[in-house]
């Protein structure tokens, strides 16, 4: 058991991949060569898709966007530990989780382009729409966990959020519920050190975020969030704990938000360039690439092929999202209630005949 070996109160952090890309055999998650390459390809795709979203925003083709550069190991490593029957409640900076769980990239772009249809999860995927009000999705994940427990379904529920979320009341209330009801939840905090301009030190006086779990009566563990194998190993174990009925786990994945908070933000205004440079050296993709090299699973040709495939996939998703016609007036109305009340029908009819129609 990894989780019990690493005490957050003593500042211990789970790490599987060392500086040279070598892995710790006792902690390394069991994965086939194909799985290892698949994880890497998902990280490559996530980065390509994320950087494309930023470009599209700069070109006016996509709205304000929250980039995830630097967090690919957290996102892909977390999601890779889950199966189809599990449920996921992500926050707004989690493209890698979406892609790993099989969410169509075109839909993800569509949402950020300003069309709600992009947040309609395909049938068969238990993936909640990303939450923008910070920490507000954590209680939902506990509700799903409680539901699974009450209905005796052997599944796990994952919820992701940032370090800023741990200051919110909903974080506390949700983890407290999870502890009391021993729900099958896996809470993964991507501690990327910054909540817009507010550093981690201003969010909590706790030495770690992981240790907060102890107060709720369940384990917490800190993990190197730029080490995809460490994230996967710990999240996988937490998922098994949850499925076995051993209750929730809080995982603090230490990482760094390499980009701005959103495309509307300028991080140079509040954080030191030296800090960013320091974290650049810990790039999660380069780190995992080194591991694959050590294992003989990576070469320049493989990389070239991956990059080309990712670029193609991204371009296809962009064209698909951009070819979706703008929403009709009905689309804004019909999902307010199961059945539209007369006043909404009346308001819709009035809108359709108004000078606003045809403006989009």
């Amino acid at each position: 058991m990894i989780i019990e070996q690493f005490d957050p109160l003593r500042g211990q952090i789970v790490q599987v991949i060392d500086e040279g890309g070598r892995t710790r055999a006792d902690l390394e998650p069991r994965l086939s060569a194909a799985e290892l390459q698949r994880i890497y390809s998902l990280m490559v795709l996530t980065r390509a898709a994320d950087q494309k979203a930023v470009k599209l925003q700069r070109q006016g083709r996509l709205g304000t966007y929250a980039p995830g550069l630097g967090q690919e190991a957290c996102q892909v490593g977390t999601a890779f530990a889950f199966q189809k029957e599990d449920w996921a409640f992500p926050y707004f900076r989690d493209l890698g989780l979406y892609l790993t769980l099989g969410y169509p990239l075109a839909d993800y772009y569509l949402y950020w382009m300003g069309n709600e249809a992009g947040m309609r999860t395909p049938e068969g995927l238990n993936l909640f729409p990303l939450a923008i009000p910070v920490a507000s999705q954590i209680p939902h994940s506990v509700g799903a966990g409680l539901g699974a427990r009450l209905q005796k379904k052997p599944i796990a529920v994952v919820c992701t959020f940032g370090d800023g979320a741990t200051s919110e009341g909903d974080f506390h209330e949700a983890l407290n519920f999870a502890g009391v009801f021993r729900t099958p939840n896996v809470f993964v905090c991507y501690n990327n050190q910054w909540a817009i301009s507010t550093p981690r030190s201003r969010q909590t006086a706790s030495a770690t975020i992981a240790q907060k779990a102890l107060a709720y009566g369940f384990p917490g563990v800190a993990v190197d969030g730029n080490d995809v194998l460490a994230v996967l190993a710990v999240v996988r174990e937490a998922r098994e704990r949850a499925r076995r009925g051993d209750g929730p786990t809080l995982i603090e994945a230490l990482t760094y938000r390499m980009g701005h908070h959103t495309t509307s933000d300028d991080a140079s205004k509040y954080r030191p360039e030296a800090e960013v440079k320091e974290w650049e050296k810990k790039d999660p993709l380069l780190r995992f690439q080194a591991t694959l090299k050590v294992k003989g699973l990576w070469n320049a040709e493989f990389e070239k092929d991956l990059q080309e495939r990712a670029a193609r996939e991204v371009e296809e998703a962009v064209s698909k999202a951009e070819s979706v016609p703008p929403p009709a007036a009905e689309d804004m109305f019909v999902h307010t209630f199961k059945e539209m009340p007369p006043q909404l029908q009346e308001q819709l009819a009035a809108l359709k005949g108004s000078p606003r129609e045809g403006q989009s």
Binding site: E116, P133, T336, P341
Partner: protein, 324 residues
């Protein structure tokens, strides 16, 4: 059987839990204690600890967790102990419960009922007497229901639990044990989004809901003796509003009086008055009048009688309208 509103609500919960194994009850003190108003009394014994859950003392948590339960496939009925304590859950209600259907284009829905006692008139502590229903009536996607009799309470709660949309179910604490009524023992539903004609009349339409209904009835009886025929509409569902029933009645009588326990500014009465101004102006024989609470903080018990609307006040407004 003869029942108070409290008993009628309890019966509705038990019957819905019997009918649908997905229905569960959760909240503070709802299990062993049966709720501070005893609305959930006996449910723990009947349905067990996996369907009747005492929760930690955390309103946002209760509603947030219920949203997850509902989206997962259960039909949670959450109790917020008093409406004065619902505000920590406001974000969950507004940002998630009410809009999840829309923001996922129907993929995830929240069939959740949030029950909470509300209103003044029971000499309660501070923060236990407010009527802030209007705060919730402007939230798209949220249904706000208020019963006014035991019969209504049972049928409306059953319909709310069966609704596919989130319902805020406001229970007038003043009416929990105010009257007993003979109600059917078997389960029944009453329609949401439909006002109830409490009594028919020709001269004036009195629109009210919740604990204002008994006052309206009393005032209408005084009016009857003075020769005025008053029609009373109980809104039952405050949002989305049954505009058709309101308009039909006022177009018939030509006069409208709205009685609202809540403060005046931006209350539901203002919305009703605007509706009548837009769609029934030419049918009106007199201005639309409102009897409402003042725009002040609900006082403690020593001032409650001074603060609380009474039937004499309602009767005087009827007179004003009839003499216009």
């Amino acid at each position: 059987m003869i029942a108070t509103m409290a008993q009628a609500l309890n019966m509705a919960l038990a019957q819905e839990m019997d009918r649908d194994p997905r229905v569960i009850v959760l909240g503070e003190d709802v299990a062993q204690d049966g709720g501070v108003f005893r609305i959930t009394d006996g449910l723990l014994h009947k349905f067990g600890a996996e369907r009747v859950l005492d929760t930690p003392l955390a309103e946002s948590g209760i509603v947030g967790v219920s949203i997850g339960l509902a989206a997962f496939g259960l039909r949670p009925v959450a109790e917020i102990q008093f409406m004065g304590f619902i505000y920590p859950a406001f974000n969950q209600i507004v940002s998630h419960a009410a809009r999840l259907r829309n923001r996922t284009r129907g993929r995830f829905t929240v069939p959740l009922v949030i029950r909470t006692p509300y209103g003044a008139g029971v000499r309660a502590l501070e923060h236990h007497s407010e009527s802030t229903e209007a705060l919730f009536c402007q939230i798209p996607g949220l249904t706000v229901v208020v019963p006014s009799t035991p019969y209504e309470a049972k049928g409306l709660l059953a319909s709310s639990i069966r609704s596919e949309d989130p319902v805020l179910f406001l229970e007038p604490s003043r009416l929990y044990r105010a009257e007993k009524q003979d109600i059917p023992e078997e389960p029944y539903e009453l329609p949401l989004r439909r006002a109830r004609l409490v009594r028919e009349g020709r001269d004036l339409t009195l629109i009210a809901w919740g604990a204002m209904i008994p006052l309206a009835v009393k005032a209408s009886e005084t009016a009857e003796k003075a020769g005025h025929s008053v029609e009373i509409l109980d809104l039952r569902t405050l949002a989305p509003l049954d505009e058709a029933s309101v308009l039909a009645s006022v177009k018939k009588t030509g006069r409208a009086l709205i009685v609202q326990e809540a403060p005046r500014a931006c209350g539901l009465a203002a919305e009703l008055a605007a509706l009548l101004a837009e769609k029934a102006l030419l049918n009106l024989e007199a201005p639309v009048l409102r009897v409402t609470g003042e725009d002040i903080t609900v006082p403690l018990s020593k001032s409650e009688d001074l603060y609380y609307i009474n039937s004499e006040q309602v009767w005087r407004s009827i007179q004003r309208l009839m003499e216009f």
